[in-house]
Symmetry: C2
Subunit: 218 residues, 2 copies
Protein backbone atom coordinates (compact mmCIF):
# COMPACT_ATOMS: atom_id res chain seq x y z
CA UNK A 1 0.00 0.00 0.00
CA UNK A 2 1.60 3.24 -1.09
CA UNK A 3 -1.03 5.29 0.74
CA UNK A 4 1.12 8.27 0.03
CA UNK A 5 -0.56 10.66 -2.33
CA UNK A 6 -4.33 10.68 -2.40
CA UNK A 7 -4.85 10.48 -6.15
CA UNK A 8 -4.94 14.20 -6.60
CA UNK A 9 -8.59 14.67 -5.88
CA UNK A 10 -9.11 18.33 -6.71
CA UNK A 11 -11.69 18.57 -3.95
CA UNK A 12 -9.98 16.87 -1.07
CA UNK A 13 -12.55 17.52 1.61
CA UNK A 14 -14.31 14.72 3.40
CA UNK A 15 -16.15 13.68 0.27
CA UNK A 16 -15.60 10.05 -0.79
CA UNK A 17 -18.85 8.14 -0.37
CA UNK A 18 -17.70 5.75 2.34
CA UNK A 19 -15.75 3.30 0.20
CA UNK A 20 -16.61 3.65 -3.47
CA UNK A 21 -14.22 6.53 -4.02
CA UNK A 22 -12.02 7.22 -7.01
CA UNK A 23 -14.34 6.72 -9.92
CA UNK A 24 -13.08 9.01 -12.62
CA UNK A 25 -10.04 8.78 -14.79
CA UNK A 26 -7.46 6.14 -15.48
CA UNK A 27 -6.78 4.08 -12.38
CA UNK A 28 -3.31 3.65 -11.01
CA UNK A 29 -1.61 0.48 -12.02
CA UNK A 30 -1.46 -1.94 -9.11
CA UNK A 31 1.14 -3.93 -11.01
CA UNK A 32 3.37 -0.86 -11.04
CA UNK A 33 3.17 -0.64 -7.26
CA UNK A 34 4.30 -4.21 -6.86
CA UNK A 35 7.05 -3.80 -9.43
CA UNK A 36 8.30 -0.66 -7.73
CA UNK A 37 8.34 -2.18 -4.27
CA UNK A 38 10.04 -5.32 -5.52
CA UNK A 39 12.60 -3.26 -7.39
CA UNK A 40 13.22 -1.22 -4.27
CA UNK A 41 13.89 -4.29 -2.16
CA UNK A 42 16.15 -5.74 -4.82
CA UNK A 43 18.08 -2.53 -5.18
CA UNK A 44 18.43 -2.24 -1.42
CA UNK A 45 19.87 -5.71 -1.23
CA UNK A 46 22.25 -5.14 -4.12
CA UNK A 47 23.29 -1.53 -3.75
CA UNK A 48 22.50 -0.67 -0.16
CA UNK A 49 20.86 2.49 1.07
CA UNK A 50 23.40 4.87 -0.39
CA UNK A 51 23.39 3.21 -3.78
CA UNK A 52 19.64 3.27 -4.08
CA UNK A 53 18.38 6.09 -6.30
CA UNK A 54 14.91 6.90 -7.50
CA UNK A 55 16.07 6.80 -11.09
CA UNK A 56 17.56 3.38 -10.61
CA UNK A 57 14.40 2.00 -9.05
CA UNK A 58 12.34 3.42 -11.88
CA UNK A 59 14.50 1.73 -14.50
CA UNK A 60 14.49 -1.57 -12.67
CA UNK A 61 10.74 -1.49 -12.20
CA UNK A 62 10.31 -0.50 -15.85
CA UNK A 63 8.42 2.58 -14.84
CA UNK A 64 8.90 6.27 -15.51
CA UNK A 65 10.59 8.24 -12.78
CA UNK A 66 7.64 10.60 -12.69
CA UNK A 67 5.33 7.72 -11.89
CA UNK A 68 7.46 6.96 -8.90
CA UNK A 69 7.23 10.51 -7.61
CA UNK A 70 3.48 10.54 -8.11
CA UNK A 71 3.15 7.87 -5.42
CA UNK A 72 5.99 8.41 -3.01
CA UNK A 73 7.33 11.82 -2.15
CA UNK A 74 10.86 10.59 -1.62
CA UNK A 75 13.15 7.64 -1.19
CA UNK A 76 12.48 7.53 2.54
CA UNK A 77 8.78 6.87 2.30
CA UNK A 78 9.27 4.44 -0.55
CA UNK A 79 11.67 2.33 1.46
CA UNK A 80 9.40 2.35 4.49
CA UNK A 81 6.65 0.77 2.43
CA UNK A 82 9.05 -1.60 0.70
CA UNK A 83 10.46 -2.89 3.96
CA UNK A 84 7.42 -2.79 6.21
CA UNK A 85 5.91 -5.91 4.71
CA UNK A 86 9.01 -7.89 5.65
CA UNK A 87 8.27 -7.26 9.31
CA UNK A 88 4.83 -8.79 9.03
CA UNK A 89 6.48 -12.19 9.00
CA UNK A 90 7.22 -11.93 12.70
CA UNK A 91 4.76 -13.90 14.79
CA UNK A 92 4.37 -14.85 18.43
CA UNK A 93 4.35 -18.64 18.39
CA UNK A 94 3.02 -19.62 21.86
CA UNK A 95 5.18 -22.68 22.42
CA UNK A 96 3.90 -23.41 25.90
CA UNK A 97 6.46 -21.57 28.00
CA UNK A 98 7.85 -18.09 28.13
CA UNK A 99 11.48 -19.00 27.52
CA UNK A 100 10.78 -20.80 24.28
CA UNK A 101 8.51 -18.01 23.12
CA UNK A 102 11.15 -15.39 23.72
CA UNK A 103 13.87 -17.39 22.05
CA UNK A 104 11.67 -18.03 19.05
CA UNK A 105 10.86 -14.37 18.56
CA UNK A 106 14.48 -13.33 19.01
CA UNK A 107 15.52 -15.89 16.43
CA UNK A 108 12.92 -14.67 13.96
CA UNK A 109 14.04 -11.11 14.44
CA UNK A 110 17.68 -12.08 14.02
CA UNK A 111 16.86 -13.87 10.76
CA UNK A 112 15.05 -10.79 9.53
CA UNK A 113 18.04 -8.62 10.37
CA UNK A 114 20.31 -11.00 8.51
CA UNK A 115 18.64 -10.15 5.21
CA UNK A 116 20.48 -7.56 3.16
CA UNK A 117 17.38 -5.52 2.36
CA UNK A 118 16.64 -5.14 6.05
CA UNK A 119 20.19 -4.30 6.95
CA UNK A 120 20.40 -1.69 4.24
CA UNK A 121 17.13 -0.04 5.16
CA UNK A 122 16.54 -0.21 8.88
CA UNK A 123 19.26 1.93 10.43
CA UNK A 124 19.19 4.36 7.53
CA UNK A 125 15.46 4.87 8.00
CA UNK A 126 15.87 5.35 11.71
CA UNK A 127 18.57 7.90 11.04
CA UNK A 128 16.44 9.79 8.53
CA UNK A 129 13.50 9.72 10.90
CA UNK A 130 15.38 11.70 13.50
CA UNK A 131 15.15 14.89 11.44
CA UNK A 132 11.76 14.23 9.88
CA UNK A 133 8.91 13.87 12.38
CA UNK A 134 6.47 12.73 9.72
CA UNK A 135 8.79 10.00 8.56
CA UNK A 136 9.52 9.08 12.14
CA UNK A 137 5.82 8.63 12.81
CA UNK A 138 5.38 6.62 9.65
CA UNK A 139 8.26 4.31 10.53
CA UNK A 140 6.81 3.70 13.94
CA UNK A 141 3.34 3.03 12.61
CA UNK A 142 4.46 0.74 9.81
CA UNK A 143 7.50 -1.01 11.24
CA UNK A 144 8.11 -0.51 14.94
CA UNK A 145 4.82 -0.38 16.77
CA UNK A 146 3.25 -3.48 15.20
CA UNK A 147 6.00 -5.52 16.83
CA UNK A 148 5.07 -4.27 20.25
CA UNK A 149 2.02 -6.42 19.91
CA UNK A 150 4.26 -9.47 20.02
CA UNK A 151 5.41 -8.50 23.49
CA UNK A 152 1.84 -8.02 24.66
CA UNK A 153 0.85 -11.38 23.25
CA UNK A 154 3.76 -13.15 24.86
CA UNK A 155 3.08 -11.54 28.19
CA UNK A 156 -0.60 -12.39 28.05
CA UNK A 157 0.17 -16.01 27.19
CA UNK A 158 2.66 -16.26 30.04
CA UNK A 159 0.13 -14.77 32.43
CA UNK A 160 -2.51 -17.24 31.30
CA UNK A 161 -0.07 -20.05 32.06
CA UNK A 162 0.72 -18.58 35.47
CA UNK A 163 4.35 -17.85 34.58
CA UNK A 164 3.81 -14.15 35.12
CA UNK A 165 1.55 -12.44 37.60
CA UNK A 166 -1.49 -10.75 36.10
CA UNK A 167 -1.40 -7.03 35.58
CA UNK A 168 -2.66 -4.85 38.35
CA UNK A 169 -1.95 -1.39 36.98
CA UNK A 170 -2.56 -0.83 33.30
CA UNK A 171 -0.06 1.97 33.02
CA UNK A 172 2.68 0.03 34.76
CA UNK A 173 2.01 -2.85 32.39
CA UNK A 174 2.34 -0.57 29.39
CA UNK A 175 5.65 0.74 30.67
CA UNK A 176 6.91 -2.77 31.17
CA UNK A 177 5.92 -3.68 27.63
CA UNK A 178 7.82 -0.65 26.38
CA UNK A 179 10.95 -1.58 28.29
CA UNK A 180 10.88 -5.18 27.16
CA UNK A 181 10.28 -4.13 23.60
CA UNK A 182 13.09 -1.59 23.49
CA UNK A 183 15.37 -4.09 25.16
CA UNK A 184 14.76 -6.93 22.75
CA UNK A 185 14.66 -4.86 19.60
CA UNK A 186 17.52 -2.59 20.59
CA UNK A 187 19.81 -5.31 21.82
CA UNK A 188 19.38 -7.58 18.83
CA UNK A 189 19.79 -4.69 16.43
CA UNK A 190 22.91 -3.51 18.20
CA UNK A 191 24.39 -6.97 18.28
CA UNK A 192 23.80 -7.62 14.58
CA UNK A 193 24.10 -4.20 12.97
CA UNK A 194 26.57 -2.38 15.19
CA UNK A 195 28.71 -4.98 16.88
CA UNK A 196 28.41 -7.02 13.72
CA UNK A 197 28.32 -10.37 15.42
CA UNK A 198 25.86 -13.16 14.73
CA UNK A 199 22.94 -14.26 16.82
CA UNK A 200 23.76 -17.85 17.78
CA UNK A 201 21.47 -20.18 19.73
CA UNK A 202 23.80 -19.85 22.67
CA UNK A 203 23.67 -16.06 22.58
CA UNK A 204 19.90 -16.22 22.41
CA UNK A 205 19.84 -18.48 25.45
CA UNK A 206 22.10 -16.16 27.43
CA UNK A 207 20.13 -13.10 26.45
CA UNK A 208 16.90 -14.80 27.42
CA UNK A 209 18.46 -15.61 30.78
CA UNK A 210 19.01 -11.92 31.23
CA UNK A 211 15.43 -11.08 30.31
CA UNK A 212 13.93 -13.73 32.55
CA UNK A 213 16.25 -12.91 35.40
CA UNK A 214 17.93 -15.29 37.81
CA UNK A 215 14.54 -16.86 38.47
CA UNK A 216 15.43 -19.49 35.95
CA UNK A 217 19.18 -19.74 36.42
CA UNK A 218 19.08 -20.49 40.15
Amino acid sequence: MPAAQPPASPDSTVRESAHAFRAKGRPRSAAADLAILDATREALAELGWGGLTMGHVAVRAKVAKTTLYRRWPSKNELVVDAVASLFDELVMPDLGNLRDDIEAVVTQFADLLARPETQAALLALFAEGIRDPQLHRRIREAIVDPQKHLVRQGRAAAQARGELEPDTDAEAAAQEVDIIFDTIAGTVEHRVLVSGEPITPEWTRRFTDLLLGPLTTG
Copy 2:
Protein backbone atom coordinates in the same frame (compact mmCIF):
# COMPACT_ATOMS: atom_id res chain seq x y z
CA MET B 1 43.26 13.34 15.18
CA PRO B 2 42.46 13.01 11.54
CA ALA B 3 44.90 10.15 11.14
CA ALA B 4 43.45 9.69 7.73
CA GLN B 5 45.94 10.43 5.02
CA PRO B 6 49.60 9.96 5.81
CA PRO B 7 50.92 13.25 4.45
CA ALA B 8 51.66 11.85 1.05
CA SER B 9 55.10 10.54 1.79
CA PRO B 10 56.33 9.46 -1.62
CA ASP B 11 58.26 6.63 -0.01
CA SER B 12 55.72 5.16 2.30
CA THR B 13 57.61 2.14 3.45
CA VAL B 14 58.42 1.53 7.10
CA ARG B 15 60.73 4.54 7.25
CA GLU B 16 59.81 7.11 9.95
CA SER B 17 62.50 7.11 12.62
CA ALA B 18 60.33 6.00 15.50
CA HIS B 19 58.61 9.29 16.31
CA ALA B 20 60.43 12.22 14.71
CA PHE B 21 58.79 11.74 11.35
CA ARG B 22 57.47 14.37 8.93
CA ALA B 23 60.29 16.88 8.67
CA LYS B 24 60.06 18.34 5.21
CA GLY B 25 57.62 20.78 3.76
CA ARG B 26 54.94 23.00 5.18
CA PRO B 27 53.24 21.33 8.11
CA ARG B 28 49.53 20.85 8.26
CA SER B 29 47.65 23.42 10.21
CA ALA B 30 46.47 22.01 13.51
CA ALA B 31 44.12 24.92 13.87
CA ALA B 32 42.44 23.88 10.65
CA ASP B 33 41.78 20.44 12.07
CA LEU B 34 40.06 21.88 15.11
CA ALA B 35 38.08 24.33 13.02
CA ILE B 36 36.95 21.58 10.69
CA LEU B 37 35.88 19.23 13.46
CA ASP B 38 34.06 22.02 15.29
CA ALA B 39 32.35 23.09 12.10
CA THR B 40 31.33 19.49 11.48
CA ARG B 41 29.73 19.15 14.89
CA GLU B 42 27.97 22.47 14.49
CA ALA B 43 26.67 21.59 11.07
CA LEU B 44 25.51 18.21 12.30
CA ALA B 45 23.54 19.84 15.09
CA GLU B 46 22.02 22.45 12.80
CA LEU B 47 21.47 20.62 9.56
CA GLY B 48 21.50 16.97 10.49
CA TRP B 49 23.27 14.20 8.64
CA GLY B 50 21.54 14.73 5.34
CA GLY B 51 22.10 18.47 5.36
CA LEU B 52 25.79 18.17 6.07
CA THR B 53 27.96 18.62 2.98
CA MET B 54 31.69 18.84 2.59
CA GLY B 55 31.39 22.18 0.89
CA HIS B 56 29.33 23.55 3.73
CA VAL B 57 31.79 22.37 6.36
CA ALA B 58 34.65 23.93 4.42
CA VAL B 59 32.92 27.30 4.28
CA ARG B 60 32.01 27.20 7.96
CA ALA B 61 35.53 26.22 8.96
CA LYS B 62 36.95 28.93 6.67
CA VAL B 63 38.99 26.35 4.85
CA ALA B 64 39.24 25.34 1.22
CA LYS B 65 37.27 22.26 0.23
CA THR B 66 40.44 20.71 -1.12
CA THR B 67 42.04 21.00 2.30
CA LEU B 68 39.16 19.00 3.73
CA TYR B 69 39.61 16.21 1.21
CA ARG B 70 43.35 16.10 1.87
CA ARG B 71 42.64 14.95 5.41
CA TRP B 72 39.43 12.97 5.30
CA PRO B 73 38.45 10.86 2.32
CA SER B 74 34.73 11.42 2.81
CA LYS B 75 31.99 12.71 5.02
CA ASN B 76 31.75 9.39 6.85
CA GLU B 77 35.26 9.40 8.19
CA LEU B 78 35.09 13.07 9.01
CA VAL B 79 32.00 12.61 11.13
CA VAL B 80 33.48 9.63 12.93
CA ASP B 81 36.37 11.78 14.09
CA ALA B 82 34.12 14.72 14.87
CA VAL B 83 31.81 12.66 17.04
CA ALA B 84 34.22 10.20 18.63
CA SER B 85 35.57 12.74 21.09
CA LEU B 86 32.08 13.27 22.47
CA PHE B 87 32.02 9.68 23.65
CA ASP B 88 35.17 10.14 25.69
CA GLU B 89 33.09 11.97 28.26
CA LEU B 90 31.55 8.71 29.43
CA VAL B 91 33.13 7.44 32.63
CA MET B 92 32.49 4.64 35.08
CA PRO B 93 31.97 6.42 38.38
CA ASP B 94 32.27 3.67 41.02
CA LEU B 95 29.64 4.91 43.42
CA GLY B 96 29.94 2.02 45.85
CA ASN B 97 27.26 -0.31 44.53
CA LEU B 98 26.40 -1.83 41.20
CA ARG B 99 22.94 -0.35 40.87
CA ASP B 100 24.09 3.21 41.24
CA ASP B 101 26.96 2.61 38.86
CA ILE B 102 24.66 1.25 36.18
CA GLU B 103 22.14 4.03 36.58
CA ALA B 104 24.89 6.63 36.38
CA VAL B 105 26.31 5.24 33.17
CA VAL B 106 22.88 4.89 31.60
CA THR B 107 22.12 8.48 32.49
CA GLN B 108 25.38 9.68 30.99
CA PHE B 109 24.70 7.79 27.81
CA ALA B 110 21.18 9.12 27.64
CA ASP B 111 22.46 12.68 28.02
CA LEU B 112 24.94 12.09 25.24
CA LEU B 113 22.19 10.76 22.98
CA ALA B 114 20.09 13.82 23.74
CA ARG B 115 22.59 16.09 22.00
CA PRO B 116 21.66 16.94 18.42
CA GLU B 117 25.15 16.24 17.04
CA THR B 118 25.06 12.75 18.44
CA GLN B 119 21.56 12.09 17.25
CA ALA B 120 22.37 13.28 13.77
CA ALA B 121 25.53 11.24 13.48
CA LEU B 122 25.21 7.98 15.34
CA LEU B 123 22.55 6.02 13.48
CA ALA B 124 23.64 7.42 10.15
CA LEU B 125 27.19 6.26 10.77
CA PHE B 126 26.00 2.84 11.83
CA ALA B 127 23.93 2.64 8.68
CA GLU B 128 26.84 3.65 6.47
CA GLY B 129 29.08 1.18 8.23
CA ILE B 130 26.96 -1.73 7.14
CA ARG B 131 28.13 -1.45 3.54
CA ASP B 132 31.65 -0.27 4.27
CA PRO B 133 33.75 -2.69 6.31
CA GLN B 134 36.57 -0.20 6.75
CA LEU B 135 34.22 2.42 8.10
CA HIS B 136 32.53 -0.18 10.25
CA ARG B 137 35.84 -1.06 11.80
CA ARG B 138 36.74 2.54 12.33
CA ILE B 139 33.43 3.26 14.04
CA ARG B 140 33.94 0.36 16.36
CA GLU B 141 37.48 1.33 17.21
CA ALA B 142 36.73 5.00 17.76
CA ILE B 143 33.22 4.98 19.18
CA VAL B 144 31.82 1.60 20.17
CA ASP B 145 34.59 -0.52 21.60
CA PRO B 146 36.01 2.04 24.02
CA GLN B 147 32.69 1.97 25.83
CA LYS B 148 32.96 -1.74 26.42
CA HIS B 149 35.65 -0.88 28.88
CA LEU B 150 33.02 0.74 31.08
CA VAL B 151 31.23 -2.56 31.41
CA ARG B 152 34.45 -4.33 32.33
CA GLN B 153 35.25 -1.69 34.91
CA GLY B 154 31.82 -1.84 36.45
CA ARG B 155 31.92 -5.60 36.63
CA ALA B 156 35.35 -5.60 38.19
CA ALA B 157 34.30 -3.07 40.79
CA ALA B 158 31.20 -5.09 41.64
CA GLN B 159 33.28 -8.22 41.92
CA ALA B 160 35.71 -6.47 44.24
CA ARG B 161 32.78 -5.50 46.43
CA GLY B 162 31.45 -9.04 46.41
CA GLU B 163 28.27 -8.08 44.53
CA LEU B 164 29.19 -10.35 41.66
CA GLU B 165 31.00 -13.63 41.74
CA PRO B 166 34.54 -13.54 40.35
CA ASP B 167 35.10 -14.80 36.84
CA THR B 168 35.99 -18.43 36.43
CA ASP B 169 36.13 -18.74 32.65
CA ALA B 170 37.69 -15.86 30.75
CA GLU B 171 35.75 -16.56 27.57
CA ALA B 172 32.45 -16.78 29.38
CA ALA B 173 33.22 -13.47 31.05
CA ALA B 174 33.95 -11.84 27.70
CA GLN B 175 30.66 -13.10 26.31
CA GLU B 176 28.81 -11.72 29.30
CA VAL B 177 30.47 -8.35 28.83
CA ASP B 178 29.37 -8.39 25.19
CA ILE B 179 25.80 -9.16 26.08
CA ILE B 180 25.60 -6.52 28.78
CA PHE B 181 27.17 -3.98 26.48
CA ASP B 182 24.86 -4.66 23.55
CA THR B 183 21.91 -4.64 25.91
CA ILE B 184 22.65 -1.30 27.53
CA ALA B 185 23.80 0.48 24.39
CA GLY B 186 21.15 -1.03 22.16
CA THR B 187 18.27 -0.50 24.52
CA VAL B 188 19.05 3.10 25.35
CA GLU B 189 19.65 3.92 21.69
CA HIS B 190 16.41 2.27 20.67
CA ARG B 191 14.46 4.02 23.39
CA VAL B 192 15.81 7.46 22.53
CA LEU B 193 16.41 7.33 18.79
CA VAL B 194 13.77 4.90 17.55
CA SER B 195 10.92 4.93 20.03
CA GLY B 196 11.66 8.59 20.53
CA GLU B 197 10.86 8.66 24.21
CA PRO B 198 12.97 10.22 26.96
CA ILE B 199 15.12 8.46 29.50
CA THR B 200 13.59 9.41 32.84
CA PRO B 201 14.99 8.45 36.24
CA GLU B 202 12.11 6.06 36.66
CA TRP B 203 12.79 4.39 33.33
CA THR B 204 16.44 4.04 34.29
CA ARG B 205 15.46 2.43 37.57
CA ARG B 206 13.17 -0.05 35.85
CA PHE B 207 15.73 -0.88 33.22
CA THR B 208 18.37 -1.42 35.88
CA ASP B 209 15.94 -3.74 37.64
CA LEU B 210 15.85 -5.76 34.46
CA LEU B 211 19.62 -5.88 34.21
CA LEU B 212 20.15 -6.82 37.83
CA GLY B 213 17.35 -9.34 37.80
CA PRO B 214 14.72 -9.99 40.46
CA LEU B 215 17.54 -10.35 42.98
CA THR B 216 16.98 -6.77 43.92
CA THR B 217 13.23 -6.49 43.47
CA GLY B 218 12.27 -9.29 45.85
